[in-house]
Amino acid sequence: MTVKGELAAHPTNREGHRERARPRRKRWSLETLILVPILAYLAVFYVYPLARILLLSVYGPRLTFDHFLRMVTVPVYTQVLMRSFRIALLVTVLSLVLGYPVAYLLSNLKPRQVALLMPVILVPFTISVLVRSYAWMAILGREGLVNTLLLGWLGLTQQPLEILYNEFGVLLGMVHILLPFFILPAYSVMIRIDRDLLKAAYIMGATPARGFLEVFLPLSLPGIIGGGLLVFIQALGFFVTPALLGGPQDTMISMLIELQISQLLNWGFAAALSSVLLIATLGGFMLLTRIVRVSILWGEAR
């Protein structure tokens, strides 16, 4: 019941029957005051630079849409954009498939067991993405750990497996890095799910599978969507891991942006590419809001 209680106290709740929230109005001024620093920070370091980038994409010495025209007429940019979306989507799905059971398991454990297992998920966080990607190179290479084991010791394969410098390597490396971003939000939603609801379902004759599918899974949806979004948005802009572990065709849009910014110095075009990435991401988010109520992201139960 704690979940409902929290929700009721939430001042931005739009649901009409939760009028109880009203008496708290007085605290708004204080809350606004507390928000000032972070809003100022966002305005200066986020909104303003973003606006500058958007402006840069259409305003070179003068107003121009050449950059966007080039992006549409030269196929490489849309192709790479599509590839980036595909990779990001695959990484998200894999993170969901691998991360959901982990989060579920964690949410069913006692706090002491969780305290023991959480470091396993959190420690890799403290190691830089670059180092972890290089580690994968040592593991997946032709003469790396995996191939030495399979080829030399176990004799299971005749030739070294091609698992590095292709899409497989990219997916493995990216999922490894992004998995905690799925597990943690999913876990935080799952521990708040009232297990009495499951018991009620069982009492009413539901099988464990049905109880899970019709009670637990829908209630954990905010975690899935929140974690999935976090993974997807980060994956879309990934640079280091695909650059190191990918093959010739695994170009991500971030690499083309980097090329324009740091090598070719065409910042207008780089800004246009970034804007399209931004707009496409926002578009995806909007699409999502059509399918699910986004308010469940910030904790509103169904």
Partner: protein, 355 residues
């Protein structure tokens, strides 16, 4: 009591501050400093040993090091009016890109450099916006345990010959150098290479595509791929191979048909320590010190008088060693200047194709 302690401690602090200020003032205010930006690593170690340490010892000017140089940062610094770099190492491509995008580099006042050094410089080492730092080259390197003596790739035509020299390969993730190598493999003569024929080059690149395992982006990746035996041969920066050989990794350089290029010392527009920068650039042109630098790392000196000071064993590993230099082709940045953006686009497009 408490007050007395307060007096004492603040007095002592003030005294200490004054002392520190007195000690550091002359060094900072009169001699000043100069900020130099290089790629760091072993090259910076060699530069520090050969040039920067004696420079500070002689002049009192402190050399502050930063890494790595990027033209984007130069552009951002100049545009924001906050220029914190003085000397920046870059190749001619970047000089051309920057000066095409605006005016981000200072003209080099050659007459302020020691005339006897300037007279001994190679012609290509003097540019309006830069003075040659050292030569480097794109060359072919291969595993000698895979390609045994008597059957080793000697040209880019051999590199393209996957029947005689089978195995995974690497090339740089850039149209520059690859197009030159493709055209050489297609039988173009060295002296008729430029202007490049992009259509022919990309057609030839199609042939080698299935054998390219990875396109390297940073200079460290190519030697890594060779060391891990991920590839058996590839294009590399010449200076990166000695380090592998020192570790006992069986790799060798083929200088034939290498692509010779050089890095320049440039000065950022509005550099705060312009005069010190000129002093340091002039200082680094000294032949004896350039020879010392080349002994520490196999990059070629730009001062012709430096080469005779280097023992033949060391000189053989340098791109500007006469025997090596005459077998190589000078990379033509002027041709690339107006073509870079378009050909980079085409390169990215080409890379996406599967077969």
């Amino acid at each position: 009591m408490r007050r007395r302690i307060g007096w004492w401690s603040s007095g002592a602090t003030l005294g200490a501050l004054a002392l520190v200020a007195m000690l550091s003032m002359p060094a900072l205010a009169q001699k000043g400093e100069v900020v130099i930006v290089t790629y760091g690593g072993t090259a910076a170690d060699a530069l520090r040993e050969a040039h920067w340490k004696p420079f500070t010892a002689e002049t009192g000017i402190v050399v502050r090091e930063e890494t790595p140089p990027t033209p984007a940062k130069v552009k951002a610094m100049v545009e924001s009016g906050n220029v914190v770099w003085d000397i920046v190492e870059m190749d001619l491509n970047w000089i051309i890109s920057l000066q095409k995008a605006g005016n981000y580099l200072e003209k080099i006042p050659v007459n302020q450099l020691p005339p006897k050094y300037v007279a001994a410089l190679d012609r290509e080492a003097i540019n309006e916006y830069g003075i040659g730092a050292f030569y480097w080259a794109w060359v072919m390197a291969y595993r000698t345990d895979v390609f045994k003596a008597g059957n080793r790739p000697k040209s880019w035509a051999d590199f393209w010959d996957v029947k005689r020299f089978p195995g995974p390969r690497t090339l740089q993730d850039s149209p520059g150098s690859n197009m030159e190598f493709a055209l050489l493999a297609a039988g173009k003569k060295s002296d008729g290479l430029y202007p490049l024929d992009p259509d022919q080059a990309f057609k030839k690149l199609d042939e080698i595509r299935p054998s390219i395992k990875k396109y390297w982006d940073t200079g460290a990746l190519a030697p890594q791929l060779l060391a891990d035996k991920e590839v058996f041969l590839g294009s590399v920066y010449s200076g990166r191979i000695k380090h592998l050989q020192d570790q006992g990794i069986p790799v060798e350089i083929e200088w034939n048909q290498g692509l010779l290029n050089l890095d320049y010392w440039t000065i950022v527009k509005g550099a705060k320590n312009f005069n010190n920068a000129i002093k340091l650039i002039g200082y680094m042109l000294d032949p004896a010190r350039q020879a010392k630098f080349a002994k520490l790392i196999p990059y070629g000196p730009v001062n012709k008088e430096a080469l005779p000071l280097i023992s033949p064993e060391v000189a053989r590993q340098l791109p500007s060693y006469a025997e090596n230099k005459k077998r190589m082709i000078l990379y033509n940045s002027e041709w690339w200047g107006p073509h870079r953006e378009e050909l980079n686009e085409r390169w990215q497009q080409w890379k996406l194709k599967t077969k």
